[in-house]
């Protein structure tokens, strides 16, 4: 009598998904890395040093995992939350008080804080081990952009609960943009951009306006930040993540000279 496990593993369905036997011997442990879509991100074999936790702190991996957690919880929250002045706050309130699985919001928010921290720790490790040195200069640059995107993701998400904490944090944060040199209406040099004595940079056309979609943090801002938070920045981050991981492989692992 074959066991149930054997029956499953011998079935046509199983074999159509996993084309090779389970990774229990050396040959199949190699094959699985080459044939599985999710695993092919990895090399087949790796220097022992490259996976020592005390060396890597696993912070890059944790950051990516948190990105996935944020994506999953974020999509689920999008089913519920409506980014309008009428509903935004009430939806969050309901998530806290009455909705089942309202804990998704906690997971999303704490995951976001944790992700900012793990990105920093990841960069800290990369710096301290000199892993940005040749041939990985470019990947460090990609990483810095990813850091920026992480902060922007967190920043745009901060507004969505539409409570006092949210709009004032975003007000304080975005007020800076009004002082952008040349492009902010309170920034140095904005007087230079005039045509026939008419100021081109006003509080309805400057960098801050572009960021907020309005003269102050209002409904337009909520919509703008929602789209940035849920679509634009995650897409950009996904692309850069792909490049980041691909370059780790192409540059010969996470650390050390080639």
């Amino acid at each position: 009598m074959p066991s149930l496990g054997e029956i499953i593993r011998e079935s046509q369905i199983w074999k159509s998904i996993f084309r090779h036997p389970a990774p229990v011997d050396r040959r199949n442990r190699i094959v699985v890395m080459l044939t599985n879509f999710f695993l092919h991100l990895h090399p087949v074999s790796i220097k022992k040093q490259g996976i020592a936790l005390s060396f890597t702190w696993c912070m890059g991996g944790v950051t990516f995992f948190l990105f996935l957690v944020e994506t999953v919880t974020g999509v689920l929250l999008m089913f519920y939350y409506r980014p309008t002045l009428e509903w935004a706050y009430n939806d969050i309130l309901a998530l806290r008080d009455v909705t089942s699985l309202g804990i998704l919001r906690e997971l999303h928010r704490w995951g976001a804080h944790a992700m900012v921290i793990t990105v920093w720790l990841h960069m800290y490790r990369v710096f301290l081990t000199g892993s940005y040195k040749p041939p990985r200069e470019f990947n460090w640059v990609v990483g810095v952009i990813l850091l920026l995107l992480t902060l922007l993701l967190s920043f745009t998400g901060y507004l969505l609960p539409w409570d006092q904490l949210a709009i004032w944090a975003i007000t304080v944060g975005s007020n800076m943009a009004r002082a952008t040199p040349f492009l902010g209406y309170e920034g140095p040099g904005n007087q230079l951009l005039t045509i026939d004595g008419i100021d081109m940079i006003t509080n309805a056309s400057d960098a801050r306006f572009g960021l907020l979609g309005a003269r102050f943090v209002g409904e337009e801002t909520l919509n703008r930040f929602y789209v940035l938070h849920c679509v634009a920045i995650p897409l950009a981050a996904s692309l850069l993540l792909a490049i980041h991981f691909w370059r780790v492989r192409k540059d010969g692992g996470i650390s050390g000279p080639l």
Binding site: I92, I103, L151
Partner: protein, 461 residues
């Protein structure tokens, strides 16, 4: 938690604190157990007369564990009498509040980090680091019975920063520990430890399983965090009711803190862009080929120190200050001080041009006549601010060559890097150093506000 009577507040916090001390007891007990298990490496520290067992480090951590175990019920009691025993004395708290100001805090942190760095060989020893951790945890526990301290630290969105401090401390210790080991080996002509592990292993199972375990652990941690701590939700947004203080999200509080010393166009736009650009430039201006793929400090001291000045000393320190020590009106408050919105701080800062024209030249500052043309007005403003303009231009253009002339170290650097890379590096560093310079100028008896002050063109520097 303001407005809650002290005994009620102590009741509220007692459950958390009691568990906190229990966990500390457990932590030390585990350490003692692990040390005792590997007792072959244990050496006897000293012998207590009359006792016939050796006093080892394991024994000491067991005593520490018992100590925490004993104070845990005091915390659980929630009784003001008992809890006073495990609180920082009021006089100490008042003393710290009185002593603390931005100068003491920032310079103190710098000195502390510098001290840890210089004597890193001592501080990375596991028993020293473990003692430090225990002391920090004890200090934190003894501070938690202070309502003002607890109110700031347990504010939901501030909890991650408490975590960040401990994580940074841990990982900095870990990295420094490994760097010290490697530096000793390199001195003896040996390879760094990381290079010994050059043997290749299969990714399945070694890495794949590690990843799986990490994912499970992080998921568990996140679930626990989400259950234990509710995400903050304040009153509905109101554009007419400005909270005081109004703070940006915590990771931007270093930038908000810079607003004290810089105008928004610098603190909010130019400097953040410079930070990003500077980070991206690191691999291209660090020409040092050594220290790639292993922890070391001695082989890349300059890069290490500069990075830490930027990261730990400026970025993290200012975030911690902005989060925990900046209250209403962005005034500075000690960690145990009540956030009083009516605290008044005298601000009588003076611009450099006033010092130059009024104090030094004994005249009035140049001022354009009312009917002057726009161009003439700019001319007057430039003339008025000329000392500051020259100073700033000189700082960025004269210092880099001066460093080459004065220091052999920078000379070698210049020869190895070439003109462009050298200028990029030094200008980035000078830009970074301008922040502490501006802080010191502000705190000095001169209370210097701006080097260049042209409010009519919104150009203050």
């Amino acid at each position: 938690m303001h407005g809650v009577p002290l005994d009620l507040f102590l009741k509220q916090i007692s459950g958390f604190l009691g568990t906190y001390y229990l966990l500390l007891a457990l932590m030390n007990a585990v350490a003692a157990y692990l040390l005792w298990q590997g007792s072959s490496r244990q050496r006897e520290l000293f012998r207590v007369p009359g006792a016939d067992f050796p006093v080892t480090t394991a024994f000491i951590w067991l005593v520490v564990s018992l100590f925490f175990l004993l104070i845990s019920p005091l915390a659980y009691s929630g009784d003001p009498q008992w809890m006073r025993l495990i609180s920082l004395p009021l006089a100490v708290r008042a003393g710290i509040n009185w002593l603390m100001d931005p100068t003491i805090y920032t310079v103190g942190t710098l000195l502390l980090l510098a001290f840890l760095f210089v004597f890193r060989r001592f501080f990375v020893k596991p028993w020293v680091a473990w003692s430090g951790l225990n002391l920090a945890m004890l200090l934190m526990g003894m501070s938690m019975t202070d309502p003002n301290f607890a109110a700031i630290v347990t504010k939901a969105d501030n909890v991650p920063i408490v975590g960040l401090i401990f994580l940074l401390a841990f990982f900095t210790w870990l990295a420094t520990y490994k760097a010290v080991l490697n530096d000793d080996r390199i001195k003896q002509g040996l390879e760094p430890l990381e290079k010994l592990d050059n043997e290749k292993v299969l990714v399945w199972p070694d890495l794949v399983y590690t990843e799986l375990i990490c994912m499970v652990a992080i998921t568990a941690l996140l679930l626990f965090w989400a259950i234990a701590l509710q995400a903050p939700l304040e009153e509905p947004a109101s554009s007419v009711k400005t909270p005081n203080p109004s703070k940006a999200p915590w990771y931007f509080l270093g930038l908000q803190e810079m607003l004290v010393y810089y105008d928004p166009w610098m603190a909010g736009v130019v400097l953040p862009s410079m930070i990003i650009a500077g980070l991206m430039a690191i691999p291209y201006i660090d020409f040092n080929k050594t220290g790639n793929g292993y922890y070391t400090i001695d082989q890349r001291k300059f890069a290490y120190v500069m990075f830490q000045i930027g990261f730990l000393v400026l970025w993290v320190t200012l975030i911690v200050m902005g989060t925990f020590l900046r209250g209403p009106n962005w005034n500075f408050f000690g960690p145990y001080e009540i956030w009083d919105a009516h605290k008044v701080e005298a601000l009588n800062n003076v611009d450099l041009s006033e010092y130059f024209w009024v104090w030094f030249m004994q005249s009035s500052r140049p001022r354009a006549p009312e009917d002057a043309s726009d161009l003439a007005k700019i001319g007057y403003a430039v003339r008025r601010e000329l000392p500051g303009i020259l100073l700033v231009i000189g700082y960025f253009t004269m210092l880099p060559p001066a460093l080459i002339v004065m220091s052999k170290y920078f000379q070698t650097m210049f020869i190895k890097m070439g003109f462009v890379r050298y200028m990029v590096l030094t200008n980035l560093l000078l830009m970074m150093m301008l922040l502490p310079i501006k802080m010191l100028a502000r705190w000095s008896p001169f209370h210097l506000k701006y080097f260049i002050s042209m409010p009519e063109y919104m150009l203050n520097f």
